[in-house]
Point group: C2
Chain length 193, copies 2
């Protein structure tokens, strides 16, 4: 097990409905040293790609994007989940269905901060069905930007987001892939290739 | 002018209705090196306080909290703007009115991540009327936690959030206080004491 799988095994909590709570270190309370390890791991994997921007979506994605962008020496850009429109008019937009809240969110990104000459690393803390990442890919497509890869801290391997992205040919690097969560709280990780 | 005031003067954009846009470096695209300078400045000001947690509210506050918490070697905890309730039942909650969206948001924080023995540094990217900070202070009060201080990147000095907090005796440290925004786009900062 790598450092993140060990931490999930120790502090992650399995809840009914295949919910994995990692609130104590990843998306409510933030363990900065752990997030920096995640940043280093993503950097090690993608360092040969000439990344120009790290793209994520608010809000817990920001905590993963920060240390990665720091390693690469590039800016973070985060897409916003729009409610009203207090941004300038000139936006990329994509519709993302949230199963957690059962609503369609519009995610938006100012056209000022993503361009056709960008080589983007997309990152997020969690991926299940991959809808958020698909929204960010959609926005990269609108910008004409290249997608160098996708870095995910925790992937739910029993949902199909990761499979679809790998089949589509993306360099998807997930630090921990959860293949199964047992009723007794045991978390089964996919073995590393 | 300090580094942040210089950056605001260069890249901040004044919009009708006393709106100051700093999207290009602080709350949409993130300049990591600048945010680390902000973290260092907050650390320099509050370093004698024995901070145990850095508290902020999603989402752009996370980008300010990360480098500060890194300097102190403590976790970030960020309050969530609730819509539905996918958190555990045991929450601190406070109502925060957002003038930007003209809605009441409920901000929530799990009771697991803030306790009576905590000494909290509250940080945020922006403060105008101070409603978000008041919500975080309310939550600290519910937890019985001590508030060591408040660090704000940009304070709108022509709104009353900062004055109220200083009158209440808080150690409020704002890196840039905007006292006036002229029609021609000139931004007037409050002189440093």
């Amino acid at each position: 097990m790598n450092f993140l799988e060990e931490r999930i095994s120790r502090d992650g909590q399995v809840r009914e409905g295949d919910i994995l709570k990692v609130d104590s270190f990843l998306n409510h309370q933030l363990d900065i040293a752990l997030l920096e390890q995640i940043g280093e791991a993503f950097y090690a994997h993608f360092r040969e790609k000439k990344i120009t921007r790290v793209l994520t979506v608010e809000s817990s994605g920001i905590a993963v994007a920060f240390p990665v962008a720091r390693m690469f020496g590039v800016p973070v850009v985060f897409a916003k989940k729009a409610r009203s429109m207090n941004l300038d008019g000139d936006l990329y937009t994509s519709i993302v269905h949230s199963y957690t809240y059962n609503v369609d969110n519009v995610v938006t990104l100012s056209r000022q901060y993503l361009h056709g000459d960008d080589n983007v690393l997309i990152v997020d803390d969690f991926m299940a069905n991959g809808k958020a990442v698909q929204g960010l890919l959609d926005i990269c497509g609108q910008a004409g930007a290249s997608v160098a890869g996708i870095g995910i801290a925790i992937e739910k391997g029993f949902q199909n987001g990761g499979r679809l992205l790998r089949e589509a040919g993306y360099d998807l690097y997930s630090l921990a892939i959860v293949d199964k969560m047992e009723d007794d709280g045991t978390i089964v990780f996919r073995p590393h290739a």
